[in-house]
Chain length 344, copies 2
């Protein structure tokens, strides 16, 4: 069945099979506690791609970002970091930054606005680091202009504040910025990438920084319990799907713009952001959660499900629409018919 | 080539293939952030086997034990826990208990002795929990008598101290205690199991406790970054190898006793413990690390490597010998020839 949002998921058995073949063809070796030829070469390749000194693969982004802000806080001898109110660290991690790391979060900016230089300039407290998420998921994948980012980076450097990139979806930003990844990342002192967003792998993330930073991160990784006995089940998948899907991000963005054209014909759907910056958007759609569920269940147009962030007003749902491999199979005309069905 | 210690490792490609077939045959579903039919049923089965209310699968034992002592410390409103000086928490985790959890460790007992009731009675400070590792790896897999354990458990309960089982290798203890697993675990308030020791899987662990304890652990798991997007790559392997290898622990122990007989004929080898309690032992062997490496490299008797814990005296190495699937292929006579070769 055709699926409008995201990637088609392999079955578990297919996932194991594909990686069996891939590891045989590439003669992949086992790693032990973070050391192994395949694993370390993968880290080096990714570090090079990011233009950073070193990279460290680990099971999750939660631990990657926590150790990043902890390391900056120790280097700068300041327990305070600053982030947007929609930051993963303060929204989705049961306050681990505080409960585990004893850090304090200062919120910058406005909840529904992308980060600006003035947000950072007016933080008003001494901080060790600033976290910026690119794209901003809670804002439907919105992005600041590159020049704004550069100004923020210059400002932070002039003040001795470390700038950390929440780059879970950083590959999703390249088509809009039209710059090489390394030029975007160069504005930051550390960065993190997730492998199960646009890249389509399973759990797994990578942390990037200078050599000292990554040496330090290895100690924190142990403390978090993330320095696993073996990482190959996650790392082989990460590399396989990265190689397979890295080339699609421009195509996703082109398809997203086609879909945005279609959506703009439906006056009752509100797009966030108003024009797409990445292959993601949030939609306010005039249906209750129950109405939507029924429409989805009974759809004759394939699987129209999107992530439902719930009712933001009576009979208005906020949906997360991610244009991935599955979405590429839809023509604008087919997408229009699907929307007509949902709203009729 | 025959291998004297531990398990034969599958190639990565074989590992992926075997699990592809297993997941297809068992129609295994994907999990999301800890929720999934296969994953949760596996947890329930293991909880039942352990005689505990609930179980929680996670990527590593480091995080499992840290959250266990943190939860007990919060419940008992006391930041101090107590453990043996060879405990994983104080030896191998870069002081995460302190750096991440703000806990304080009080060491009980003597470094080269198994835990006794009097060790626990003489801790001399108020503590929230006591951690006991069964078997004690740094003591060559030595074990206290069951009655001693029961007395410790009774004492802790009478004092309101939580007793946590570092049961990374708990299945290895069953042949010596000759009791069902649940009877051993019943002495403890929480327990942890590793899947890559005797069970022979890859990274993965399980934490056991009462319902409140596990509900709490889920929050700490998130904070540690261990609540992965998907756990199936580790969990499918854990269940597969558990089913495959659970039946061998008695056979390992019988083989260990045969080997111990052989070793006792070599007066220059010192066994720790003096008679095996589990399928593990440490050996003091009168060879330098360099001599040993050369002997191993040139061995005509197959792979004689054991974990080398280094030189404990001039020309004396401490080896960790684990009797696993690979070891079962050796007769006592063959083992004797191998030792003769090493020592000649």
């Amino acid at each position: 069945m055709k699926k409008i949002s995201g990637h088609k998921k392999m079955s578990i058995s297919e996932w194991f099979s594909v990686l069996a073949q891939y590891s045989e063809e590439n003669n992949i070796d086992r790693d032990v506690y973070g050391n192994g030829k395949f694993l370390n070469e993968f880290e080096s390749e990714m570090a090079k791609k990011f233009g950073m000194d070193k990279a460290l693969f680990m099971p999750s982004g939660v631990m990657a970002q926590l150790m990043a802000i902890r390391i900056w806080s120790e280097r700068k001898k300041n327990n305070r970091f600053s982030c947007h109110s929609t930051c993963h660290l303060t929204r989705h991690e049961n306050n681990a930054y505080q409960e585990l790391h004893g850090l304090s979060a200062v919120i910058y900016g406005k909840e529904h606005k992308v980060v600006s230089l003035s947000d950072i300039q007016t933080i008003g407290e001494s901080i060790s680091s600033v976290v910026i998420e690119l794209p901003m998921r809670h804002l439907g994948g919105d992005l600041p202009e590159f020049e704004e980012l550069r100004a923020i980076s210059d400002y932070c450097r002039s003040k001795g504040i470390a700038l950390h990139l929440d780059g879970a979806r950083i590959f999703e930003c390249i088509p809009f910025y039209q710059r090489p990844l390394s030029e975007i990342v160069a504005l930051f002192d550390s960065a993190f990438l997730s492998f199960y967003k646009g890249i389509g792998s399973t759990s797994g993330s990578m942390l990037f920084g200078d050599t000292d930073f990554i040496d330090n991160a290895k100690i924190w990784l142990r403390r978090h319990g993330g320095n696993l006995f073996e990482l190959f089940p996650l790392a082989v998948s990460a590399k396989y799907f990265f190689q397979k899907n890295e080339c699609y991000f421009h195509e996703y963005f082109e398809k997203t713009k086609e879909f945005a054209e279609v959506i703009s014909e439906f006056k009752s759907i509100h797009m966030i952001p108003s024009s797409p910056k990445t292959n993601m958007m949030h939609l306010l759609i005039p249906l209750s959660a129950a109405e939507l569920a029924k429409k989805w269940d009974e759809s004759p147009f394939g699987d129209l499900r999107m992530g439902n962030w719930g009712e933001v007003a009576p009979s208005v749902c906020r949906l997360e629409f991610v244009i991935g491999r599955a979405s590429l199979e839809w023509s604008p005309q087919e997408f229009k018919e699907a929307l007509n069905y949902l709203l009729k």
